[in-house]
Symmetry: C2
Subunit: 216 residues, 2 copies
Amino acid sequence: MSRPDTKQRLLDAAERLFARQGFHATPLRDITAEAGANVAAVNYHFGSKEGMIEAVLARRLGPLNEERRERIEAVLRAARQRGGRPEVAEVLRAFVEPTFRLLEQGPGGQNFAVLVGRVLAEPDPSLRAPFLRLVAPTFRFLYQALCEALPHLDPGVVFWRVNSALGAMGHTLRWTGGLGAEIGRSSLPPGVDPSPGTETQTDRLVAFIAAGMEAP
Amino acid sequence: MSRPDTKQRLLDAAERLFARQGFHATPLRDITAEAGANVAAVNYHFGSKEGMIEAVLARRLGPLNEERRERIEAVLRAARQRGGRPEVAEVLRAFVEPTFRLLEQGPGGQNFAVLVGRVLAEPDPSLRAPFLRLVAPTFRFLYQALCEALPHLDPGVVFWRVNSALGAMGHTLRWTGGLGAEIGRSSLPPGVDPSPGTETQTDRLVAFIAAGMEAP
DNA sequence: GCATGATTGAAGCACATGTTTGAATCGAAG
DNA sequence: CTTCGATTCAAACATGTGCTTCAATCATGC
């Protein structure tokens, strides 16, 4: 290898460009140019463009989902030990916080956060399918934990509220790491901080969706 | 004209295909084939592909925004007349209900609803710009109405909560009119209605985001 | 060294895309 | 009927796309 690990550089470039321009709008040649690699390297390492998006997702989604799962499990365990129900806000925070922490893990993590936000809103099955395969178990686990936390609610209602919560999270991810700054600066109402810190962002989102989940 | 209004048929087909496959993933030839028109008709009537998406958005967004604005104004007026503050849920309902009513206005409205959900999550400026130009005044009006309804909250917090609310709404729109049914049926937890009626959907969403807006 | 398998590079292929062209067709006014 | 602008059509154009090919290069074990 001439330079250290072409594969990683390709993944980094793809992560960045897919997040900023979208999958279909990003030509392979843009990615290879940014990574300083040849077009053939993509098909050599990943088989196809679709194979590359899958690799981009899998690289970070594996550890991320593990962390989310562990934290939700910890919340459930603590609740059982004290003989009570898990707190809705705690469960949600266990899911949201690791996601938003991506924003602090350098430009790569930031791009990936935006990418997750994008894929959450993507109808194209060729993108949605690999993503869902990777996150479905975690989503389901979150749903079950919230059903435990809200036993008085119909499971159907819980499901739709989880859906709304994910929508709010995805939107915030896209906005925060992506176009929020650009779009916002010009059209933001006065007195609004265009990009508060990650922690503030997390706290606000958790407060919002926790209140939504617990609505009467 | 051989057949009634090629222009409208093109707009209908574009509305449908952009909603289902996305803008970049939909070739012009797919649209013209579905509309039974020639490829050149697109450039003749709209100048370019981008001109067409703009026309698709403008056709329905004009009346929709007018209705949203009138309904929000009615809520504000009623509040002033009784000397109180507008109710958060009322303001949100005035904005959300006309949007969701699209889902009942035939397949065209349904497709457009999904399309709005998509554009809400779209980072590509060539799509976002015309959309924002059309909806920015209405969004700002909603924001101001909610500031009136929540005077004890920092405007910055209100802004971010409106953002989250729009994210939740967009996600629901995409899900409801679009892939929810397909994806859902296979992986939905048991006991969850895959597609409740529009009214139920609206009530649930309003309850969720109203609670989120009013969180302490 | 050298042989071998992994990786890279330049060039090209086959095809899809948005757009343009110029002639044909249509509808209605003179 | 003729004329003229609006509209439609088939064909082509220029470019961009994902992917493949095959020779060159590299790293490593012998």
